[in-house]
């Protein structure tokens, strides 16, 4: 229940709204990714589109679950309502959110590491399921795993890409994923500080807005 309890009261609902913005951005990138796949026909572009589609679905599930929880919380202002009537919905909502988020990261790692072996891909998805089983008992583990995936695999790949091709686009992508990785760290810290929860959402939004700027800068040409 980390993400509910650690949110400051004034931020209830705002986090859902911020997540909806990221949903729109992720879906726009996914849509353009599908367009590239249809045009060029390489599977890696389908994977690219699917990773952002998965992020979009994850954010919708996270946002809707959070919003409904706040709605119930504010209406009844009692934890027993959550415990007795809402716990199953809460767990299913957030576990689905975690699943799609981790699946998106795994697809990005498959692209970053240029993995083509189906057995390795299935192994990675077994890892996602294992993380979900752990996350079912302790939601914090989701943020720990997300942070590890970002810091060890995804961000270093985009940094290397920026080093090898120094231009505004590679720089923006590296910056965007660094901001998203930072948001994962802040979500983790939000267990101890509600300010970290607010900063996590802001950092995440900055990351996705940077990706949107990148997309717009290409499409405007």
């Amino acid at each position: 229940m980390a993400s509910f309890i650690t949110s400051p009261a004034w931020f209830y609902g705002i986090d859902s709204a911020l997540q909806i913005v990221t949903v729109v951005i992720a879906l726009l990138i996914a849509f353009y990714g599908f367009h590239i796949y249809r045009f060029i026909g390489q599977k890696k572009y389908l994977f690219f589109a699917l990773s952002f589609l998965s992020i979009g679905i994850s954010m919708v599930l996270g946002s809707v679950t959070s919003f409904l929880l706040y709605f119930v919380w504010m209406k009844h202002n009692a934890l027993y309502v959550l415990v007795h009537d809402f716990m199953l919905f809460y767990e299913v909502g957030f576990l689905s959110h975690f699943f799609f988020h981790l699946a998106a990261y795994m697809i990005l790692i498959i692209l970053c590491l240029k993995i083509e072996d189906l057995r390795v891909m299935s192994l990675l998805f077994l890892f996602v399921l294992l993380t979900l089983i752990i996350a079912e008992r302790n939601f914090v583990s989701f943020y720990v795993v997300s942070l590890i995936l970002m810091v060890l695999y995804i961000v270093p790949y985009f940094y290397k890409n920026y080093q090898e091709n120094r231009n505004s686009k590679t720089k923006r992508v590296f910056f965007a994923f660094s901001a998203i990785a930072l948001s994962q760290l802040l979500f983790l810290l939000s267990v101890w500080s509600d300010r970290a929860y607010v900063l996590a959402h802001i950092s995440q939004l900055i990351g996705y807005i940077t990706l949107l700027v990148n997309l717009i800068s290409v499409l405007r040409k």
Partner: protein, 89 residues
């Protein structure tokens, strides 16, 4: 795999025409596209069918002209490659 190669070849053909100011002789296109005569002819016919290039008769033979649709294809392809290169994929 086959489709990817074809899209890239089509891009290279259209780019060759564009680099020659939008008009190119078949012999120059054959040289620049690095394809067999038969394969180049097949693709040129396909591109003409799709309206991306047009044929124009001149005193020395014929020329291939890049159409607006061809320009749009090149522009679209270039945008996509530029976007995806930002991610390094």
């Amino acid at each position: 795999m086959e489709r990817r190669d074809k899209v890239k070849i089509i891009y290279d053909i259209l780019k060759s025409v564009q680099e020659k100011g939008g008009r190119i002789k078949p012999t120059h296109l054959l040289y620049k596209s690095n394809l067999s005569y038969k394969r180049m002819n097949e693709l040129v016919q396909e591109l003409m069918g799709k309206g991306m290039i047009a044929e124009e008769s001149v005193s020395s033979g014929k020329m291939y002209i890049l159409t607006d649709k061809g320009h749009k294809f090149l522009n679209e392809y270039h945008k996509m490659v530029e976007f995806i290169k930002g991610f390094g994929f």
